[in-house]
């Protein structure tokens, strides 16, 4: 094949992809001149070039299509769905011819006469009587003379008014592509890029080896040039990586056409929404996920969405929605493929599971909904009642799952009956190079990706952070926080080093911060991440493995897996895959396990407080505790900190010489609770009984087999005399309602979640407004929403305005929780759409407000 033809084929293929998208757009916005002329230009170019290359068959088809488009462009013919279908059919013919050209180098034989005749008829505007029977042109040319508005009204899947209004917005997008200026790019074969990448990887590893050698050599003359070499290598690496990054939109380019055709074929109205198309990922990964993505979109449109009549009957908009959403998260790209259709049919899955003997009824009964849903990833498991022409072709979700896992990705499913299904794919951005910290634990070296590492802390010594132990659980007191620690050697069941581990890698996973205790930290190194062998893939602690500069193999730790394995992930979205569905990242629910600090004070019964609320644990010398106005105080960090004895009174005579104190702090304020003895830290689900029987306690929980009183922190904070909270009132009766809490301060979150949990609410807490909106997107249902006003990113007022505009949460009670509760603030809150405004944190007022709001709702 000569170069000219090869170039033509590449260009035509690209043109055809762009045409598909443009035509679908045109169908929605028939009046959009920019799109029209873009379509016309591409077809015209194809026609012109094939005339030049001597491809008569291709030229004739392109010419006929161009004539129709010419009429549209000149405005002598209205754009109709039938016409567009015809042009799409012409494009398919062109595509088939191009495919033949590609394979054999010459045009394949074939008869395009009927197609051309129909196109010509459409161009002439004559009723294409005899061709009317041809299936691909439904009702197309029947009313060609009708003016634009009427035509759109008669076409079954005609453009709705909204996109038409949006037409002017779309123009700027279309204009640049319609312009004449060629982009400053050249074509490079993918093989060349692949080779470059491989060479760069090798170069990086060699550079690392050199650097390691140089370090042992001391002041060598090579140091300076080596430094330079190192810099250049890094830049080269970044550059080459960039050439491999492509927007995920490239993999989506064919989807609008696909969905449009599916809609026509299945008689459904489908809108495809694509978000984050500009999110970039490595082209190798992109290629690997292209087909699975297409398959899943097809699935959503076919199985997920109901027929228009069913949708209307279910009170949903007639047009179903398929949503693609891509975003970066850590070193991963997260892609969601969702629909607002019928959701997975749990009953049908159950039947099928039993029919296929995959589980017994008893086993099924014990399964969570999420576990049940995951059966669709089993081979040969399709729940489609009928196999349509579209799906059910034997490519199941199991293939998709296998393909994802092959590239180190995961796939998850969230589904809610009647509300839709969403697949969440998480895949590494690149299979290439990351920067990692090399550590040692239990005599073995491991790599920790730098992305999750916040800082390195050396324990012990003067002025250094201290390792503390509460029973056997190691805890790091770092500045104002208590961080749980994971002993890496113990976690990996390696023999501990002779001397105690003294280094902590402070790591963040989602909103969760914890420390990884290691024996040594070597250095950072650029590593080429390689997936682990399949038989090791179930060890979630490892994200991959690699070869270091010195040639040895090293395992790469996955902080997510570590958090999960050590039960620290109570907040992580994927932290508890076995637990219920619909749990996006950073959730904290009152029915999830919470780390509790156990202590004793006053009577013998153990007491507990969520560890997250406690800023520090102190041992204060008895002599330092002073009395001012009958209240105990201590000088603490240059301030006077009020102390509250939990047992009611504190007597210097009977107190231990070193008094244990739980310090609570928020910003500048601090208070200490005096307790008798600290017992333990334990993970427990907070299921509170007998809420609020006794002032100061939320109720009792069973911890490690013992009835333990759960501290009402808010109550005790008030005892400190600080004006943290408003006075108490009566408690509300418990109700099992779902409440969403939007609050960025972990402190207040930890106050509100247990308090509401104790009052019988199921609370889901998120960090910011964006996350709340994501939940709405995911179809999560709540009875009320509580939101802070001051939030990172979108603030509470904006969130309220946004929610009130549209969507499933439009009419939910919205309660503002804020530290600022002046009349002006309250007014602003109401204007934004808040139902009520409660000062932060007046538990009783909040419970009362919730109760009222929900009551009103029931009445309404």
């Amino acid at each position: 094949m000569d170069d000219l033809l090869a170039d033509f084929l590449t260009e035509t293929s690209e043109g055809l992809v762009a045409l598909d998208a443009a035509l679908v757009r045109l169908e929605r916005m028939p009046g959009d001149a920019a799109t029209l002329s873009e379509v016309f230009r591409i077809v015209h170019t194809i026609k012109g070039t094939c005339g030049f290359l001597g491809l008569p068959r291709l030229e004739r088809v392109a010419h006929a299509a161009e004539s129709v488009l010419g009429r549209y462009r000149d405005g002598t013919q209205p754009v109709t769905q039938g016409g567009i279908t015809l042009i799409l059919a012409a494009l398919d013919a062109i595509r088939a011819i191009v495919a033949g050209l590609e394979a054999t180098g010459s045009e394949p034989a074939g008869d395009d006469a009927p197609l051309i005749a129909r196109l010509d008829a459409a161009a002439e505007g004559t009723s294409a009587g005899s061709e009317e029977a041809a299936p691909p042109a439904p009702a197309a040319t029947a009313e060609p003379e009708i003016g634009l508005p009427e035509a759109t009204a008669t076409v079954p899947d005609g453009p709705d008014p909204a996109p038409q209004e949006a037409a002017p917005d779309a123009t700027p997008d279309a204009a640049p592509t319609g312009g004449a200026a060629p982009p400053q790019t050249i074509r490079v074969s993918v093989d060349v890029l692949e080779d470059l990448m491989m060479l760069v990887s090798e170069l990086v590893l060699t550079r690392n080896q050199l650097l390691q050698l140089a370090r042992t050599q001391g002041d060598s003359a090579f140091a300076v040039p080596l430094q330079r070499l190192s810099h250049i290598t890094t830049e080269l690496q970044e550059g080459v990586m960039k050439t491999r990054m492509q927007p995920i939109g490239n993999a989506w380019a064919k989807l609008p056409r696909l969905v449009r055709d599916l809609g026509v074929e299945l008689g459904k109205k489908i809108t495809l929404e694509m978000r984050g198309a500009e999110t970039e990922l490595d082209r190798q990964v992109l290629e690997l996920i292209k087909d699975p993505l297409t398959h899943m979109v097809r699935n959503s449109a076919d199985h997920g969405l109901e027929r228009p009549s069913e949708r209307l009957a279910a009170g949903k908009p007639e047009a179903g929605r398929v949503l693609l959403n891509a975003r970066h998260e850590g070193g991963h790209i997260v892609i969601e493929i969702g629909d607002d259709g019928r959701g997975l049919d749990a009953e049908r899955i159950r039947q099928k599971v039993i029919a296929q003997g995959l589980a017994t009824e008893a086993e099924l009964a014990a399964m969570t909904e999420r576990e049940l849903h995951r059966f669709i990833f089993r081979p040969g498991f399709s729940t489609a009642a009928t196999v349509t022409a579209v799906s059910g072709r034997g490519v199941g979700m199991d293939v998709v799952k296998t393909n994802m896992e092959r590239i180190g990705g995961t796939i998850d499913i969230r589904s809610r009956a009647g509300q839709g299904t969403c697949f969440v794919i998480k895949i590494p951005l690149t299979l290439a190079i990351v920067s990692a910290l090399i550590v040692e634990a239990g005599g073995e070296r491991f790599a920790i990706p730098q992305t999750g590492v916040l800082e390195l802390v050396r324990l012990g010594g003067d002025g250094m952070p201290q390792l503390e132990r509460i029973k056997d659980a190691p805890i790091l007191r770092l500045r104002d926080r208590l961080l749980p620690l994971v002993n890496l050697a113990a976690l990996l069941r390696l023999e501990p080093a002779a001397t105690e581990s003294r280094l902590v890698v402070v790591t963040q996973v989602g909103s969760h911060v914890f420390g990884i205790l290691v024996d040594r930290v070597y250095d950072t190194e650029e590593i080429v991440v390689k997936p682990v062998a399949p038989i090791l893939r179930n060890i979630t602690m490892f994200g991959g493995n690699t070869i270091l500069g010195d040639g040895s193999v090293i395992m790469i730790l996955d902080p997510n897996g570590i958090a999960r394995a050590s039960d620290l992930g109570a907040e992580g979205g994927e932290a508890e895959p076995e637990r219920e569905a619909a749990r996006p990242a950073n959730l904290l629910r009152s029915d999830a396990a919470t780390a509790l600090l156990l202590f004793r004070a006053g009577d013998a019964a153990p007491k507990a407080v969520p560890l997250g609320l406690v800023a520090r644990l102190e041992q204060v010398e008895r002599e330092r505790i002073e009395f001012v106005g009958g209240r105990p105080l201590v000088q603490y960090r240059g301030r006077l900190m009020p102390l509250v004895p939990l047992s009611g009174q504190w007597d210097a005579e009977t107190a231990p010489s070193r008094q244990p104190v739980l310090v609570f702090s928020d910003g500048d304020r601090a208070m200490g609770l005096l307790v008798d003895e600290i017992l333990d830290v334990i993970e427990e689900r907070l299921a509170v009984d007998g809420a609020g029987e006794r002032p100061g306690y939320l109720g009792s929980v069973v911890v490690a087999g013992r009835v333990t009183e759960l501290l009402d922190t808010a109550w005790w904070l008030r005892q400190a005399g600080e004006d943290w909270f408003a006075p108490a009132a009566a408690r509300a009766a418990g109700e099992t309602r779902r409440v969403l809490l939007v609050e960025d301060s972990a402190f207040f979150r930890n106050l509100v979640v247990p308090a509401l949990g104790a009052a019988g609410y199921v609370v889901t807490a998120v960090n910011d407004a964006e996350e709340a909106l994501r939940l709405q997107e995911a179809g999560a249902g709540f009875d009320a929403i509580l939101s802070d006003i001051v939030l990172p990113g979108m603030d509470g007022l904006a969130l309220a305005r946004h929610l009130r505009q549209e969507g499933p949460w439009m009419h939910l009670p919205l309660i503002a929780l804020s530290g600022r509760a002046g009349p002006g603030d309250v007014e602003a809150g109401r204007e934004a759409g808040f139902t009520d405004y409660v000062a932060k944190f007046d538990r009783e007022a909040l419970l009362e407000s919730l109760r009222q709001c929900l009551e009103v709702q029931v009445v309404a």
Partner: protein, 162 residues
């Protein structure tokens, strides 16, 4: 390679010489705890001398670790552990690198011997006295003079409960 005596004697039973390749398994012999075994040469990608192996915590017991084969990471399976035999005392393991579903694995054996063509027809079923651990991974046995060679099933060897 010279055809062995056994091949020659069986040749009369074989209708054409071309089919000889189908009836003969070219086999790499190795020793595990004194037991002679074989793997088909067609499955072997490489044979390596002693290598430094990185331990992989939490991995199945049979997995000795990971090693670097010219820039490729290979998972090493200790045949002794796979077969429930006592650990090697002293000496270094040899690696026989095999491939399965695009992944490379190294089988750690005590010694690697020679390459022998073994007629398939000579392969006898597993003797009933064969240890169950061996039986699970054996395709059958060959008698080589005084010794018994166990033909290993590479697929089965690598079927490790993950």
């Amino acid at each position: 390679m010279q055809p062995s005596m056994t091949t020659a004697t069986r040749a009369s039973l074989v209708p054409t010489r071309g089919a000889a390749e189908d009836t003969t398994e070219v086999t790499l012999t190795l020793t595990v705890a004194g037991q002679l075994c074989g793997v088909p040469v067609s499955a072997v990608r490489d044979v390596l001398a002693a290598q430094s192996i990185t331990r992989i915590p939490l991995a199945p017991l049979e997995v000795a670790g990971g090693l670097n084969l010219r820039g490729r990471i290979v998972t090493a399976i200790d045949l002794r552990r796979r077969l429930g035999l006592p650990a090697r005392e002293g000496g270094v393991a040899m690696s026989v690198v095999v491939e399965r579903e695009g992944e490379a694995y190294s089988l750690l054996a005590d010694q690697v011997g020679e390459v022998l063509p073994l007629p398939r027809g000579d392969r006898a079923p597993n003797p009933p006295t064969l240890d169950p651990a061996w039986r699970e991974v054996s395709l059958g046995v060959h008698r080589l003079g005084e010794r018994l060679l166990i033909m290993l099933d590479v697929e089965q060897l690598l079927a490790i409960a993950a």
